[in-house]
């Protein structure tokens, strides 16, 4: 397959890859923003003392983590219409990604919050801050730093998972490769180009994480034995 590798055909399909790349990019950004919102809400529910709030969040998080995204996507795309809710696929796709990643992000944020030392929380309490003020002024700003690397990991997973949306006719990056494979029967060209595009996205995300970590003043942990 490789000896006849045709760069010419790739160049011919480049506009398509460009569109796919752009679509994946904005799909991921919107979904990730949604996932953050979902994650924050879930995490806030999960941290409450009231079982009434805690339990639904816990069940949701477990159910999402234990089942494949494909099944969730199916439920949203083919299941909701049976209940009389027909949504455009783009919306369903973003919704599925956000709901799925949100469950993971909730756990990441929770771990970040729990990593804040008790002393910090008590300092906030002792100076008369309310729960909301402690969260906003003391806990979350510190938790954010701890959560950047796992959030980056989750963002990468989300970008790659967005490929599944091609299943419900959302045109994104993977689809461009598949078109090249099915129109011209050039799978190597199609999939390797797709992989290269994802790698670009990956390194973009990674440098964004490094940048934001620096911006937030997190010092990297040195390795040592």
């Amino acid at each position: 397959m490789l000896e006849n590798f045709s760069f010419r055909t790739i160049v011919e399909y480049l506009p398509l890859f460009g569109q796919g790349f752009a679509a994946t990019l904005w799909l991921s950004i919107v979904s990730f923003a949604g996932a953050l919102a979902v994650g924050i809400i879930l995490c806030a529910m999960n941290l409450q003392r009231s079982r009434l709030l805690q339990l639904p969040a816990k069940i949701y998080i477990d159910a999402i983590r234990a089942t494949p995204l494909l099944a969730q996507l199916y439920f949203l795309y083919f299941g909701l219409p049976r209940l009389g809710v027909v949504l455009p696929e783009l919306f369903v796709g973003i919704l599925a990604l956000a709901l799925n990643s949100g469950a993971y992000i909730a756990e990441i944020i929770r771990a970040g919050i729990l990593s804040i030392s008790r002393g910090q929380v008590e300092a906030g309490i002792a100076s008369g801050m309310t729960y909301a003020q402690r969260m906003r002024l003391v806990i979350l700003p510190q938790a954010i730093r701890v959560t950047i690397p796992p959030l980056l990991g989750q963002a990468i997973v989300l970008v790659k998972d967005s490929a599944l949306l091609s299943l419900i006719s959302v045109a994104e990056l993977t689809r461009a490769g598949q078109l090249l494979a099915s129109d011209r029967f050039m799978p190597a060209e199609g999939f390797l180009t797709t992989a290269a595009c994802y790698l670009v996205l990956y390194y973009g995300l990674k440098s964004l994480a490094v940048f934001s970590a620096r911006w937030l003043g997190v010092r990297p942990i040195g390795s040592r034995t």
Binding site: E89, S166, R184
Partner: protein, 241 residues
């Protein structure tokens, strides 16, 4: 040559695309069957070797053939000229066409209704139907799905698309899973397309043999019998549902 290899191996390796009835499917008992599958089995029988099916999902199908993991590819595949730059197609074993279908009780019962601006038309990604639909319905919104023909029926049934365009025999075969009369298949055939098997250009001997095979089964009526059972009637349903 490849035929020598197959004889020596005692095995014909066939990559199949499980697109759904009537060409290739897995029946309730978990057995692989369908029109194309039976033709391939016939081929192996004539060669005097046993057959192994390799069931790739769509992404793996072409690579399997190109990398030599499989000797030939059996699917309801249209031999386009662009594709033929990469793989060698046999003679067509049948002709079919793309048809438009819609839900029976919807307002998209005719071709003209479907041509309206903004109609959502479901097609299979990369399939001929996709291209045909774009030409026939320039004003429509084309939605390409991945994952097999039954998905199109599901999408139309659920209202995610107004109508679908796919291979007419596939649509006929696949609607069997729904209550009778759920879908209207419009009488117009949008295009006439051959269906063929594929192999590699470095397997000329196999290609020659397969073409001969298709001639033979066409002459002695076995091909017609196969198509009558699977494609032109619904006889298969009583044996395989």
């Amino acid at each position: 040559g490849t035929l020598d290899d197959i004889t020596k191996r005692g095995e014909l390796r066939v990559a199949v695309q499980t697109q759904g009835p009537p060409f290739s499917m897995v029946d309730a008992a978990g057995k692989r069957t369908g029109s194309s599958v039976e033709l391939a089995e016939l081929m192996a029988k004539e060669m005097g070797v046993k057959i192994t099916f390799q069931d790739y999902d769509w992404d793996g199908l072409i690579p399997a053939l190109l990398s030599g993991k499989a000797d030939l590819l059996v699917a309801d595949m249209t031999p386009t000229l662009a594709r033929a730059m990469k793989v060698a197609f046999t003679k067509p074993f049948m002709y079919t066409g793309s048809a438009v279908f819609a839900k029976t009780d919807s307002k998209f019962g005719t071709m003209d209704a479907c041509k309206a601006k903004g109609t959502k038309i479901a097609v299979l990604l990369g399939a001929t139907g996709e291209k045909v639909a774009k030409e026939t319905f320039p004003d429509a919104e084309i939605k390409s799905y991945k994952g097999g023909g039954p998905l199109l029926l599901d999408a139309v049934n659920n209202g995610q698309a107004d109508c679908g365009v796919n291979d007419v025999s596939a649509v006929k075969g696949q609607q069997a899973a729904y209550p009778a009369g759920s879908f209207t298949i419009m009488p117009e055939v949008l295009s006439k397309e051959p269906l063929a098997f594929a192999t590699r250009y470095d397997e000329q001997d196999l290609l020659v043999w397969m073409n001969l095979f298709l001639d033979q089964v066409a002459l002695d009526g076995r091909l017609q019998k196969n198509l009558d059972y699977w494609v032109n009637s619904e006889d298969w349903k009583k044996d395989h549902q």
